[in-house]
Amino acid sequence: MYKKIPIYQQLAELLREKIEKGEYAFGSSLPSEREIAETYELNRMTVRKALDLLEKEGLLVRIQGKGTFINTPKIDTRLDTIQSLGKFLTQMGISVTNRVLYCGRRKADYKFSKIFGVSPEDEIYQIFRLRLGNGEPFALEYSYVPFAYINDCEQYDFKVYSLHDLYDKHGIVLMEDHQQLEIVTVHNPQAKLLDLPEGGQVFMLTNVSIDKDGRVIEYTRSYHSSKKFSFSTIMS
């Protein structure tokens, strides 16, 4: 018995496979709706529905008057090992740049005194950055670290350096990373920064890093463009 899957979904599946296999080169344009309809002997409404689905998944980008383009490939980020996002991307041959949106000291206050186990009067340092790979936005990061652990941080240019560089310098060794991955909606200005439409869906990763002495070192909330990222894990 064959399962009756709607035709547009079958077409979407077929196109998705071709894209993932690299039959349509990334960055190049897909054949026109009319051409696809002719090739597979389907009506244009069906083709359009299939393309809508793939556009929603971030595989295609449709530019009015120009055509339909294959979106850049997704990067598989390992959810099961600690890594610095910057290092990971660099290892993949992607040049990482950062835009610092804000950095500065502030009091821990209620929320962060609980997270870090410090007094609400103690100072923390916050860094908000947009991470770009090959010039395209990948992630928006909001990081918080108790100031005392990295007390010379104000001398660093976080456009160039990452927190991990600072940890190395201060002899901080991260032992555990507790992460929570969610899917959330973003609006402007965050959507715009990530080059996504208003109301777009992104991965939100909340990260609490603990060092070998059990101290909570860093709390980071980051928004990862679902156009650019998928996450993978290996369970064994």
């Binding site: 599946e13 929603k56 949106l101 991260l174 990373d177 991955l181 909606t185 991965f203 993978s232 894990t233």
Partner: protein, 240 residues
Amino acid sequence: MSKYTQLLSEQAREKIEEYIDRQKIAPHTALPAERELAKILNFNRLTLRTALRQMRDEGAIYTIHGRGNFLSSPKYLEDSKSFISYTAGWESDGYQVHSKQISLKVMEATKRISDKLDLPLGTPVYELKRVRYLDGNALFLETAYLPIKYCEGLHNYRFENRSLYKTLETEYHIKLVRQNHVISVAALTREESAYLEAPEGTSAFFIRGVTYDDTGRAVEYCVSLNRADLYAITSCLVPE
């Protein structure tokens, strides 16, 4: 919106979270009206509204038209290190698990399925489609593909309240030891959102995994759509 304003709404959000925590507001309880909250927390109303919108976007609160904002119950958390479709894991955490079997069919492996299972195109496979519920909430829409030759007769079982993995182990002596997942984002189609009792277009985790037994065979290719408004994935990582 300037970055200064964004900083303000981040601060407002923290203050709202502090208020919720200090007042010990329980899930599904209403928050004070926006105007009142702005007065209590001493924030400009527009800033507060932005903060509330972000909390709504992230599922921390929900709004009932005409009745205000309510605190959401926490999302169901699943450790990324557990297998997709692992009934025993949820049960041991104290959740009530039940399933609705949508279909259990025989089909020929498509290109994707045969690639994932490392089998020739057209190999007969079972396709088991289920909706899984936690505490009565429809959360997961799962489709599992298994080569018939590894588990002949699987169609004689009903997988409503029976664990697939347990059945593979006890009836077919297949010990599953490893699974790779890839996690992406998808928007639920009309059919999918109907099964999951969610509004059409709700976001979902789109998780695809291949499960291997202890002889290294790919035994299952599983595709799961998990409601992103009710569920999140956790992991505890250690250095490589």
